[in-house]
């Protein structure tokens, strides 16, 4: 017995020694600091807590927020956005539209990949060839005519499209269009997928799946100097834990949930940073089934819901009520101010009576991440006789219902990652039912015509007029009952300045400076 206990204790001691070792990051904020010659504080490490892990380290292999967030540290796109969503040079110093279907990019010279290879037009053409063959990126990047894309010289390339698509330039800001290193990828594609190489401000070091990603600063980056040596993105799925880590100093920056915003705002050690993003949340319908195929029913529901009150209650004043299906900062946005967007229960009841539903009806509402909002909507609709059964489910089940048209009411959101109205209104095109993006199964020939104009007209004024007309139409048709403009929340240590979250949800960590503690 004693021998047995001794053996067990020895084994436990050995295991505890391995635990003491502690691999990977300590997760703490910058361990040491010093001043550079110019007087700015320089630190070892910047640690950021993120909500989602990437699905791939190759940008065109996955089109999701987690992958975008992490790959955008290593790779760069031809075009970027400034703070006001104006297109600015990225890896392309300038560009021009040759004709309706051709765009010439003049590439930045003296840029190197992290392995020392020069960045040239070959890499751009190779990347677009991969995009066209990628399951995740092909349909997003527009109608690229890869056979007719042409390299004019080492730093000039013409990209061809199969048809006019004015959204194309804005699509070149998307992380899925980030440029990869042709030579490294062709030499060892499997190795590249585990050790990505880009031209970006950070070099990939490691990805401990389920835990963190580590990057080292690219000291040869063309975009300038960065005031620290290492960037760590820690994957912490639980929102409260991320907020606590930021508030306790465990991380420098954390993406947090709205439920933690007030707590962070009142903490003296961290600042709450909010950024409106290119996303709106809304209540919508399956417009292909009764009674939601009746416009009066949709209008009645819209009038029965006080969106301002819901947004104030669920976002504690940190978000604006959306006035359109598009995010308000997007090019082409218009506040239609429809007569059906206010709160008027009596008028709602009249419309229900005109539609033949004076006594109301029963229906279901599916959501995956907006339970409070759903409960408030349920109580508002009860006032006009609509009995709503809530179906709060997981993302996978929610998506399955929407793609297959099984929903009646649903709470959803639309993110326009490129900032272009074409991407926004894909969701209203009758050619895109279900998996194409039109989860409301809305069909209107006039809307389709306007969407076609937005998609194909190369004249900005014509496009803008079509955007305005379409938003007016959608407002009157009440395809969506708009709730809020999307907002991202961050808890940022007060020792940090110049943190720039972006409306596109990709954060710029390169300009960060540190205050002396």
């Amino acid at each position: 017995m004693k021998k047995f206990i001794c053996i067990m204790l020895t084994a436990l001691m050995c295991i505890s020694l391995t635990a003491c070792g502690g691999s990977g990051t300590s997760g703490s904020t910058g361990n040491s600091s010093g001043s550079s010659e110019s007087g700015t504080i320089h630190r070892d490490t910047l640690t950021v807590a993120i909500q989602r892990e990437p699905k791939s380290l190759i940008p065109y292999e996955s089109n999701d927020t987690g992958t975008d967030y992490t790959t955008s540290q290593v790779y760069e796109t031809l075009i970027k956005y400034d703070d006001d969503l104006n297109m600015i040079p990225g890896l392309a110093e300038s560009w021009e539209q040759v004709d309706d279907t051709h765009y010439r990019f003049h590439l930045r010279e003296n840029v190197k990949f992290h392995n020392g290879d020069d960045f040239t037009a070959d890499d751009v053409l190779y990347t677009f060839q991969q995009i066209v063959n990628s399951k995740a990126a092909a349909s997003t990047m527009g109608p690229i005519d890869i056979e007719n894309c042409k390299i004019e010289d080492n730093h000039t390339i013409v990209i061809a499209l199969t048809k006019a698509y004015p959204a194309f330039l804005r699509l070149c800001t998307l992380p899925i269009s980030s440029i990869v290193c042709k030579e490294a990828m062709e030499k060892d594609p499997e190795g590249y997928a585990k050790n990505p190489i880009g031209t970006g401000p950070f070099k990939f070091v490691e990805w401990v799946s389920g835990d963190h990603l580590t990057y080292s600063v690219n000291t040869d980056w063309w975009g300038g100097t960065i005031n620290y040596d290492k960037l760590i993105l820690r994957y912490i799925p639980e929102a409260t834990t991320r907020a606590v880590e930021a508030e306790s100093g465990g991380v420098d920056i954390a993406q947090i949930a709205v439920s933690d915003a007030q707590s962070v705002d009142s903490n003296n050690d961290v600042s709450l940073v909010t950024e409106q993003i290119l996303n709106t949340t809304y209540l919508s319908f399956n417009c292909s089934i009764e009674p939601f195929n009746n416009v009066k029913v949709r209008q009645a529901i819209s009038l029965a819901i006080d969106s301002d009150a819901i947004v104030k209650a669920t976002y504690y004043g940190y978000a604006n009520t959306a006035k359109s299906f598009m995010a308000s900062s997007m090019w082409g946005y218009y506040d239609a101010d429809s007569e059906y967007s206010g709160y008027n229960v009596e008028k709602a009841k009249e419309l229900m009576k005109e539609a033949g539903y004076e006594n109301g009806f029963s229906c279901s509402l599916v959501t995956y991440n907006n339970q409070s909002m759903a409960e408030m909507i349920q109580s508002y609709l009860a006032e006009i006789g609509i009995t709503v059964t809530l179906n709060v489910t997981d993302f996978s089940n929610w998506l399955d219902q929407l793609v297959n048209g099984k929903q009646q009411l649903y709470i959803g959101g639309w993110t326009t990652a490129s900032g272009d109205p074409s991407e926004a209104f894909d969701a209203m095109n009758s050619a895109n039912f279900g998996s194409g993006g039109n989860r409301s199964f809305y069909s209107n020939s006039e809307a389709d015509k306007l969407i076609n104009t937005i998609d194909t007209s190369t004249d900005d004024n014509t496009r803008k007029t079509a955007c305005v007309d379409l938003q007016k139409l959608l407002g009157d048709e009440c395809v969506t009952v708009n709730m809020n403009d999307g907002v991202n929340f961050y808890a940022v240590s007060k020792s940090i300045s110049n943190f720039k979250p972006s409306q596109t949800q990709r954060c710029d960590f390169t300009a960060i400076t540190f205050a002396a503690k």
Binding site: G21, S56, T240, N397
Partner: protein, 315 residues
């Protein structure tokens, strides 16, 4: 003994086959398209269909099952993650040691708290100390572990700032998750120890030991405890096996990259190979832990092995 162990290992095989079949069937009966979840809502139906073909998901059910089982048996291949194409075996290999550490230390903590509380309660039966220990045990049992985890984070990480809120990078990071996981097991261990101690200290040989003038401490810890601990060790072993697969809440809250968190992440996006591989691994691990507990039980109580030998001789 060897025959016994081999027999138990062989009995695991039908268990594993059953688990593989049940998990495989449930995943495929589930209505949602896993590829749609993985590729995201913006992927076109053609892209989803292409990936389904690539993954063999359009094959008949038994073809898929046969291919999967063949992969496990011939190459120990549990498939690759739909998300990042990492082999499931690699994922489990990387994450299991972390879950194992958490399970071991939380079981030890539960034992270190539960056994002394049980002894005190038994020795001082019906006293104030006994009542306090019982209440404490019930409190530990009643508190949901996710609530306890969040409270520990708020108190020790946010307000006191003495311990980190997440991660698994060293001893300091392990303290809160181990407390959150271990305290739930304390009640069961304490109550089992208490009831077994009460039974044992009423035995004749204890009375004889007292009559011979042995010190009370020696009687309790040398003579009574050893016999009372036998079922407790069984219980701890089962708790340990349960924790190997059941700490997903703790791992998610504390962002610990173990098997539990891997399964939670995989379930949320229907990453079927990872879910299948993880569940099968946990079933096997639980079976092996049970076997080890039975063997340890036999060493602690020599009567167990003696009875095996008698049965073997009779045959």
């Amino acid at each position: 003994m060897t025959r016994y162990i081999l027999k138990r290992l062989l009995m695991l095989i039908p268990v594993i086959i059953g688990v593989v079949f049940i998990v495989f069937t449930i995943e495929r009966l589930s209505p949602n398209d896993p590829i749609r979840s993985v590729l995201g809502d913006m992927a076109s139906q053609e892209e989803v269909d292409a990936m389904r073909n690539e993954m063999g998901l359009n094959d008949p059910f038994f073809v898929q099952f046969f291919n999967y089982a063949k992969g496990i048996v011939t190459k120990f291949d549990f498939g690759v993650s739909y998300v990042d194409r990492q082999p499931v075996v690699e994922m489990i290999k990387n994450r299991f040691p972390i879950t194992l550490e958490l399970a071991i230390f939380s079981t030890i903590l539960a034992g270190l708290l539960g056994i002394p509380l049980g002894i005190i309660s038994a020795v001082k039966q019906y006293s104030l100390l006994d009542n306090v220990c019982s209440v404490l045990a019930l409190v530990f049992l009643a508190i949901p572990e996710f609530w306890l985890a969040l409270m520990l984070i708020i108190v020790f990480s946010l307000h006191l700032k003495v311990l980190p809120a997440s991660g698994w990078y060293g001893i300091r990071y392990m303290i809160l998750p181990i407390i959150a996981t271990g305290t739930g097991c304390v009640a069961g261990i304490m109550r089992t120890t208490r009831s077994n101690m009460l039974e044992v200290i009423r035995q004749d040989y204890i009375r004889t030991a007292r009559a011979k003038g042995l010190k009370e401490n020696v009687i309790i810890y040398k003579h009574a405890l050893r016999n009372a601990l036998i079922p407790v060790i069984t219980l701890m072993g089962l708790q340990f096996g349960k924790e190997l697969g059941g700490v997903f809440v703790i791992e998610t809250i504390f962002a610990i990259p173990g098997i539990g968190k891997m399964l939670v992440d995989a379930c949320s996006i229907k990453n079927i190979p990872v879910v299948q591989g993880g569940v099968i691994f946990i079933a096997v691990a639980f079976g092996i832990v049970n076997l080890i507990v039975d063997i340890v039980y036999g060493y602690i109580d020599p009567r167990i092995f003696a009875s095996y030998k008698r049965k073997a001789k009779k045959r």
